[in-house]
Subunit: 89 residues, 2 copies
């Protein structure tokens, strides 16, 4: 049996890593008059569909996908949410 999962993946810079994009957005917001905004951090939000035998198989595959391609684990953290959407076969 194969199950289709919808995955939501959040890739964020590790807290210790500087975030020039976040800093740029923060100053952009200041230029718009928002002086009440701080700690702006920019990351990636990835959605995808994958099929697997079960949830733990899907999780294992996502971990490898994140480690190898979706995140640079030297400077980034990742987390994901899985939602079963359909039984495929």
């Amino acid at each position: 049996m194969t199950i289709a999962y919808h995955a939501k993946i959040y890739v964020t810079l590790r807290p210790s890593v500087l975030d020039p994009a976040g800093t740029a957005v923060e100053s952009g917001l200041e230029h718009l008059g928002y002086h009440n905004v701080s700690h702006v951090r920019i990351g990636k939000y990835i959605e995808l569909t994958l099929t697997a035998e079960d949830e733990s198989a899907a999780q294992k595959q996502l971990d490898v996908m994140c480690d190898k391609l979706l995140a640079n684990t030297v400077i980034e953290n990742y987390r994901f949410e899985l939602l079963e959407v359909a039984t495929v076969s």
Copy 2:
């Protein structure tokens, strides 16, 4: 009274808009041997802290920030989650 909120903002391409980055990631995953992945869409995940009088004031400000700077509303959708973190004054 001023309340500090932690905001999580998700900026995604509208469904009708092509996603070359998503397509590139999808073929990258195929090269890694993952032929069970589809519908890859890449978006922005923004975290920030803002202070406001109450939640509805914070929501209104975030809407303007998204409309003016954080999202290109011609081709992108946005949604956000607000979490009260502290009473500042």
